[in-house]
Amino acid sequence: MNWLQVDSPTAAMNVLQWQGIPAQFVKGGGGSLLVDRVWVEAFVDGHGSNPRWVPMDPAFKQYQITPASSLATAVAFDQNAFLNLPLTDPRTPYEFLASNLQSFLNTAAPGTAVADVVRGSSIVPTVFSKGLPGRIENRARHRSEASQLTDGQRYLVGVSTVDAQGVSAQTTFRLPEIYSQRVTVSFPPASSADQALIQSSGGYYNAPADQLHVVASINLSGGSVATGSRPASIGDGHYVVVDLFFPGATQPTTLYHTVFAGGYYGLGLDVQGDLSEEISARKQAYLQALNTSTDPTYDDATTGDFMSTTALVYLNNIQAERLNISALSSTSQAMDVSEALTMKNIVIE
């Protein structure tokens, strides 16, 4: 149970089942869980005098967990009070709850801070004194081997644009390909004549809306990976459709966003983990791009990166807030793929 950071078989089952991971009790009601997992083996030629394949699964690590004190839940979140805060109050819901809890602690347990009563969790390092082990730490039932997973065993993300005539651009990514990457939907000029029109007008947003034709483009880190099959006029309505294919699922979870030709759209996808470092690195790249872009109001390294990064910032903020909530309530946060689309809207006048 420990590698899921919970301390009961029921909680472990809850976490796994909510994420759609096949799991079953080995014995009725508790004890061990049987879970389907994929792990890798690496051929380690420096493994003493006996080079061999060594299983690697970073998920199987042990945690030192300090449960939250009962004081941590002594104050409940008061939604009504939060909704009555003045607009100038900058506190997030967690910060509001934490400040109320601190006020309570000041009376109930003077000298105690919120940080003293929340759940703590840290990874317990494993030291292999005799080199890497020959088998995975948990008991594993070896079902099959493959040199490459099929797409049906992977988490896939389909992105498409749909106009009044149907799908215009479509692509599918493997989730790790686009994790923290810049995925955007834009509407670049449809033809060289349209490109010339933009240039002669002095930029994308200076071009005449009633003459310019554009085409939907799905972009990964600045490169177009799918282009619309037909031109669109500025302001034409589209859907950006995101299909999330769970491994083994036959039907995707489908999300629809309404967008308009001429806007710029950033797709954020977040699985887990703190994205702060990636966001910080992207910020530097964004500043540099601003300095060199010929049309910073409409290119992928500037506008696209701003849109994509803000989507990731949003999802990262939510995750950080949830981690704080879980620390108060002695809970584990289980995450599946979260998705948000940021939009740079346009007006025609």
């Binding site: 809306a209 910080s280 903020n317 809970t331 289980a334 979260s338 689309l341 007006v347 006048e349």
Partner: protein, 365 residues
């Protein structure tokens, strides 16, 4: 620009369709899950508006922000379910599509939390509501079917205006800690000419480049706070610790002054210690400002900039390529060190002459 129809950016929206995480009790008892979900939903909606507030400097609407606005304006916020729908639905003063949505949700057994009247935030007019489902989950909606937040003002109309000079002077006074607030005035004059927003209403941001011309960082707003401080913790003069938020530095001039002054205040404390180490127990404001600004302008990873010669604070003589030791590491004097000394002398000059009194400033009268 050509004739005919034109288009331009009008604002920003986030449409968060799937925020997929769940909290599970370590001990398997998830009886409190609805309470966690409620707080989680409120947070998600709250951040939808905060995102654009911080990144664009334009007030933004989300469900939670709209409900807070309704309460602030004295608009009743109803909680409607099947037991009171007959009495309350007819009193809603909202657009027909909103009313229809609410009616459908209540008919399905949901509970809807909605302001009685349509709300207005800048140029945005509409409704926000929470649709609570019987299973404890909830949707946080704003008019237009979005599960998200939007800016509420045309960017060309945004109120990113520089503060009045009297407001700015008051901010310098209130944020100066135990030091003379004229030091803040002199530093802000040197850094930005007391300017938070440029002529287009965009935050004043100056880029710093390396020798190859690559942008390495940016300085923001009135106090030109370097963006490498983003996420760092600074101690205010009253001892409060604040984590620095880059977007807020760009869009909130008062915050910019607060953070810049706090950094300067810490440099002033360090300058005081440094000068006392040189044998001057009560250094003048002029000397304090000079040494502190040398640190503020160039960071701490530099050789000492000034020393006393015949009782007068004087730049230490360096040449580019000289070496010095910092934290046990040998470093080389760059042109930036020499520039930093000159910049510090410029601030000294501004302070001694109170040059801001007659200068053109970004703040308005």
């Amino acid at each position: 620009m050509n004739g005919g129809w034109h288009f331009r950016p009008y604002g920003w929206t986030i449409d968060a369709k799937r925020v997929a995480s769940n909290l599970f009790a370590d001990n398997g008892d998830d009886s409190h899950q609805n309470q966690w979900l409620q707080m989680d939903g409120v947070s998600s909606s709250f951040y939808e508006s905060r995102l654009w507030d911080r990144y664009t400097g334009i007030q933004s609407i989300s469900t939670i922000r709209g409900l807070q606005l309704a309460n602030a304006n004295g608009i009743p916020v109803y909680q409607i379910d099947q037991t009171n729908a007959a009495a309350l639905l007819s009193t809603l003063n909202v657009f027909p599509d909103v009313l229809q949505n609410v009616q459908n949700e209540v008919n399905a057994g949901d509970t809807v939390i909605i302001p009685r009247d349509t709300i207005v935030m800048n140029q945005w007019v509409g409704s926000v509501w929470i649709d609570q489902l019987p299973d404890g989950s909830a949707g946080y909606l704003i008019e237009g079917g979005l599960f998200g937040g939007s800016t509420t003002q045309d960017p060309k109309d945004r109120q990113n205006t520089n503060p009045s000079c009297s407001d700015l002077n008051a901010a310098f006074d209130s944020q100066s800690g135990n030091f003379d607030s004229d030091i803040n005035r002199a530093v802000a004059m040197r850094e930005s000419g007391w300017t938070q927003f440029d002529g287009d209403g965009d935050p004043l941001i100056s880029q710093n480049k390396n020798k190859s011309g690559q942008v390495t960082s940016a300085d923001i707003g009135i106090m030109q706070v370097n963006d490498n401080n983003d996420g760092q913790t600074v101690t205010l003069p009253d001892g409060t610790h604040v984590v620095i938020d880059q977007q807020r530095l760009a869009n909130d001039w008062q915050y910019n002054v607060q953070i810049g002054s706090a950094i300067l205040n810490n440099d002033l404390v360090a300058a005081q210690r440094y000068l006392q180490g040189l044998g001057v127990s009560s250094p003048s404001n002029s000397d304090l400002a000079t040494v502190a600004y040398y640190m503020y302008n160039h960071g701490s990873n530099v050789p000492p900039g000034f020393d006393y010669e015949n009782g007068v604070l004087t730049p230490i003589s360096y040449e580019v390529g000289d070496t010095f030791t910092n934290n046990g590491k040998t470093r080389t004097v760059t042109q930036g060190v020499l520039d930093g000394q000159q910049n510090a002398l410029a601030v000294q000059n501004i302070l001694n002459n109170q040059s801001w009194l007659n200068a053109t400033k970004g703040c308005h009268p």
